[in-house]
């Protein structure tokens, strides 16, 4: 359903995503994993059409998302949902209005029907009864769950999840992961989950993509990723500090930086 072809995104001198081909399987959960700064969120934003690629195309069926007129893009987006890393709830609206927002915007449903649908979505995320709270009154986990309910409000065909469990306690993270898994399977929804939570990613995904320095370094079912002998994959999965993926991203020599600045440190041999 969604296919990225030769996708690149460059910010200044940095290639956030470089010459990447990606195929998102319809009806499956695809987890895009990788360390911080590996380009996974940029890739997600490219696939959702929030960013225009420097090179390449994003195919939605046989239509290029990058060349779509605005009108068509918004039509396509009515079948999409997205859960943002920091929830992105509209902070002038309460929980009810946030979840009802897409329904108010894109349907002519009666307010009573919308109220019932919102109650169902909030029940699904365990927050029925919190309709009148404002986003500023919610905890991080609650905000994520409200954002999840909002993303699901229109029963989308594709949902993008950007770091759905980051910053959450293990129970809340588990609840969100279960929700993603169960809802995707129940609704036969295509889900793209960006995460650096290895256990959650491998547990819920049908297909895993591992990224490093803007490129895909491994892809396949979770079992094949677990059994991979690629040193970079093993280092990431095991969380080892030493290995081919360096922790430091400095481009200059540390010693040079310290010694060549006048009045700082002088190293005697």
């Amino acid at each position: 359903m969604i296919r990225g072809e030769n996708l690149s995104k460059r910010y200044g001198d940095v290639d956030a995503v470089a010459s990447t081909d990606i195929h998102i399987k319809t009806g499956a959960i695809t987890a895009i994993m990788g360390g911080s700064g590996s380009g996974k969120t940029t890739l997600l934003r490219l696939l959702s059409g929030l960013e225009i690629p420097t090179t390449g195309h994003v195919w939605y069926g046989d239509e290029d998302l990058c060349d779509m007129p605005d009108k068509r893009l918004y039509e396509v987006r009515e079948s999409m949902g997205m859960l943002f890393q920091y929830s992105a709830l509209l902070n002038s609206l309460n929980v009810y209005d946030n979840v009802a927002f897409p329904l108010h915007e894109h349907t002519d449903l009666d307010e009573d029907v919308i109220r019932t649908m919102v109650a169902m979505k909030l029940e699904q995320v365990g927050l029925r009864g919190f309709e009148n709270l404002m986003p500023s009154e919610l905890s991080g986990g609650m905000a994520k769950r409200v954002a999840f309910a909002r993303a699901m409000a229109m029963d989308p065909r594709i949902v993008f999840f950007d770091e759905p469990t980051s910053g959450l306690d293990p129970i809340s993270a588990g609840v969100i992961s279960t929700l993603i898994h169960d809802t995707s399977k129940m609704n036969r929804m295509t889900s793209v989950v960006v995460t650096h939570d290895v256990s959650a990613g491998l547990a819920i995904a049908d297909h895993v993509i591992l990224m490093w320095q803007g490129r895909i370094i491994a892809k396949g079912p979770p079992d094949s990723i677990r059994e991979s002998t690629d040193e970079r994959v093993c280092q990431f999965l095991e969380g080892r500090p030493d290995g081919p993926i360096p922790f430091s991203r400095s481009t200059t020599s540390y010693i040079d930086d310290l010694t060549h600045r006048p009045g700082t440190v002088r190293l005697e041999s």
Partner: protein
């Protein structure tokens, strides 16, 4: 000697180089801002209509700025009456006080001071609000919910400022002239008949239309500049703060420049 000369010429070229870069950046931003504003305005006739959001913005900008406009208008009229009275008294022309206060307020001070107050009160909050929506990905969330943020966020604010500013300026004018009357007639003893007669005789519809034209143009400018600054703010706390300051400065300077241009055309 030649080293000194080359040092001077490199300093001059550096000065003009950075001046050129600033000018280029200014022109780029002007182009970008105009394009963004026009994109938003082109969505005016596109469904869904933004009537409800426009009314909400009009209420927030208009009613929210009413108190500051009344206070500023009142004190401007009072100061003008005081200053005008003692200046006119030197020539024995106190009876012209009404015309002086009225013309100053309707043609110049009402639109300009009114616009400044609205920039400070409403323009800065427009920029900060939109900037924060960018920082917290709320505009991206709107995009993903198939709602065009230019149509939903920018358009109602640009239209609302364009309509609210002339209405507020009219209130400023009435309050200013009224407070000038109180100070001139009640406190300083100017003949009430003379105050009103000169006011009515000297102020023409041309003056009033001129003030309104200025107010409409200022309102449109404020909407365009403040929404642009917020929408293009660097998505950081510092970026939003900087954008808010810039919006106030650019809009205020823009109002003064446009005031001169419109005055030179309208006189």
């Amino acid at each position: 000697m030649s080293n000194e000369m080359s040092g001077k010429s490199s300093a001059i070229s550096m000065f003009f180089g950075s001046l050129g870069r600033y000018a280029m950046r200014g022109i780029e931003e002007l182009g970008d801002g105009t394009r963004l504003g026009m994109q938003a305005l082109s969505l005016f006739f596109v469904r869904p209509w933004q009537g409800k959001h426009f009314v909400l913005q009009l209420y927030a900008l208009g009613v929210g700025s009413l108190a500051i406009i009344i206070i500023t208008g009142a004190f401007t009229g009072m100061v003008l009456a005081l200053q005008g009275y003692y200046t006119l008294a030197k020539f024995g022309s106190e009876s012209l006080l009404g015309a002086g206060v009225g013309m100053s307020i309707i043609r110049e001070l009402g639109p300009v001071l009114g616009a400044f107050m609205i920039i400070g009160r409403a323009g800065s909050s427009i920029t900060a609000e939109i900037g924060i929506m960018r920082v917290t990905e709320q505009t991206d969330a709107l995009e993903m919910m198939a709602v065009n943020p230019k149509q939903r966020i920018l358009l109602p604010r640009i239209i609302a400022t364009t309509i609210a500013v002339p209405l507020l300026v009219s209130i400023f004018d009435v309050v200013g002239i009224g407070s000038g009357y109180i100070v001139g007639v009640e406190l300083l003893g100017v003949n009430p008949g003379a105050y009103m007669a000169e006011l009515i005789a000297k102020i023409t519809m041309h003056d009033i239309y001129g003030g309104w034209v200025k107010a409409v143009v200022f309102g449109f400018m404020i909407g365009m500049i403040c929404t642009y600054m917020g929408y293009r703010a660097t998505p950081t706390t510092e970026g939003v703060a900087k954008a808010t300051t810039q919006a106030v400065v650019v809009a205020s300077v823009g109002v003064l420049i446009m005031d001169y241009i419109l005055t030179s055309f309208y006189l």
